[in-house]
Amino acid sequence: MNRQDKSLLSVRDLQTRFHTLDGIVNAVDGIDFDVYPGETLGLVGESGCGKSVTAFSILQLLRCPPAEIQGTVLFEGKNLLDLDKEAIREIRGSGISMIFQEPMTSLNPVLRIGEQIAEAIRTHKKIGRLESWRLAVEMLKTVQISSPGERSRQYPHKYSGGMRQRAMIAMALSCSPKLILADEPTTALDVTIQAQIMNLMQGLKKETNTAIVLITHDLGVIAEMASRVLVMYAGKIVEEAPIKKLFKDPRHPYTRGLLNSIPVIGRKAETGRRLQEIPGMVPSPLNMPQGCRFYPRCDKALDVCSSKEPPMQWLGENRRVSCWLETEGEQKKFTDKNKMSG
């Protein structure tokens, strides 16, 4: 695809497997996507759908074995999965960095915050300790931590959850990466702090023009920050759309289900129930159903869905779905069926 020419990160057929005592778990089962410079790409899905694993696979932060990663991850012309240890180390933190979900445990409790930022800087730039600390304090100022000089000399346990996440953002931005992988950055925070952090990230992004892959299960966060969204289910991408189109016109039954399950005031009057859920549960990765993975829970399922996996259909630029309903022939059959019964 010529998309690749313009893209910053290009993932093709990424597969990540885990070899466990109970069998092989295909956490990520062949996904393709691109990330363009300066954009915020949302990656949405339920817990366990493989979105976090995707991020870890890109930076190769998984222990291999028991993990096994295959595919192509092109970044600045090189396949990251082919790089040796040294090379990937250089990319980490300076080309691509990562923010993690749990600010409580993701910072080293026995090192000062300033040091944790400074060491990242020193790893990628040839500067001395003093200089790196100065830059670290600068970074803390950028993420709006008050009294950055004093704070930089403190240990993580003195920071609140929101502050720790800011510190993590500071760490991630310290070497001016082109891409940040943000794994559920706000999930562990209080709602008010969430809003603060999101605002902060928006602001910083504007300044630095860093691309962000925002991984979350929270559609609200996506709505705020992302320009384009990928929906993942059970290790595969099922839909991709620009943000507005996704919310206005979701094509995949799963996406529709997700959007419907957001509590809305007044829904009870409309549909008779306050909450809409998607029936059933995510299939066990050891026991994936044949055919479309969403089939057991889909209310619009067709016969073919149970036996064959639907192909990915491109519906326009940055718009695709993986669903039999979208394949024209099936669509017609479906509407025909309706005509007959209706």
């Binding site: 885990f18 005592l21 998984l62 222990r63 291999c64 993990a67 240890k85 066990s284």
Partner: protein, 296 residues
């Protein structure tokens, strides 16, 4: 390809605790070291039980004519200073050591488990008292405690068992109490209480099974420790008394002859070593297999 991040299974839980036992069993079998340990233990127990069949004759009967002979066809492992077959004494010694180990664990069980259960379950003043005592006992390192107890009680096999047993009791109490404390808050315990089950029943039927897991591991390792301690006391001359063939005591009396006949000291030590090793191997394997965190 570097490092760790575990994939957390957020699948519907179709892993019930029954299969937890199966999983543990599978894990255990995979662990070669544990298997070797288990095998050795079996060998050890067999030897101990079948001792009279393997070695005929009185292992304690002196035969001064043949004193301090090096290993030969007739005496596989040589003889000690009183002319007794070392091999025979080692074989019979296995009984003594096993007996002591079992006795020690027994003492630990009888005293430690109930105290731990009570302390953990009822809390309050009883807990406080028991904990203070436990702390005091634990303030002494194990062997020294046993040593001190022997100082008070005197020597001999019975006192050895009691002393070492008591020195292990605090460990059991702590272990059991910890387990009880965590299980006590579980919903099914509350449910049982709500239905009106008597406390003793609750303790036995609900709490005890959960406690058994760490207890089993501790017991296995404890038997190894017991053998070591007993040998230590024997070596110092304040454990099992001669002429009973206890490995530690054998080493103790061998000391004087070490320059002349080192073999007298070598073999009993090897026996101690292997028996303790087997318990440690198996106990470790058991611990790894039963530890829920240990996924491959």
């Amino acid at each position: 390809m570097t490092d760790i991040k575990n994939e957390k299974d957020s699948m519907p839980g179709n892993r019930v605790s029954d299969s937890r036992f199966k999983r543990s069993w599978v894990k255990l079998k995979r662990n070669k070291a544990a298997l070797i340990g288990g095998l050795l233990i079996l060998m050890y127990v067999m030897i101990a039980i079948l001792a009279p069949l393997i070695y005929r004759g009185n292992p304690s009967a002196p035969n001064l004519m043949k004193s301090l002979e090096t290993p030969s066809i007739e005496y596989f492992l040589g003889t000690d200073e009183l002319g007794r077959s070392i091999m025979g004494r080692i074989i019979y010694g296995s009984r003594i050591s096993l007996l002591i180990a079992v006795g020690v664990v027994f003492v630990g069980f009888i005293i430690g488990i109930p105290l731990g259960l009570i302390s953990g379950y009822y809390g309050g003043k009883i807990d406080f008292i028991i904990q203070r005592i436990t702390d005091t006992l634990l303030a002494f390192p194990g062997f020294l405690l046993a040593l001190a107890l022997v100082a008070i009680l005197g020597v001999g096999i019975k006192n050895t068992v009691i002393s070492i047993g008591i020195s292990m009791v605090p460990i059991y109490i702590r272990l059991v109490r910890g387990c009880v404390l965590s299980v006590r808050e579980e919903v099914y315990v509350e449910a049982a209480k709500a239905v009106g089950t008597r406390d003793t029943m609750i303790l036995i039927r609900h709490i005890l099974p959960n406690v058994m897991v760490p207890i089993t591991v501790q017991t296995t390792l404890g038997m190894g420790t017991a053998i070591l301690f007993a040998a230590g006391l024997g070596f110092l001359g304040i454990g099992v008394q001669p002429p009973t063939p206890e490995w530690g005591a054998m080493l103790g009396s061998a000391r004087s002859y070490i320059f002349h006949s080192p073999h007298v000291a070598t073999f009993p030590g090897i026996a101690i070593f292997f028996s303790v090793l087997s318990f440690n191997l198996f106990g470790d394997g058991l611990r790894d297999a039963l530890d829920p965190r240990f996924k491959l």
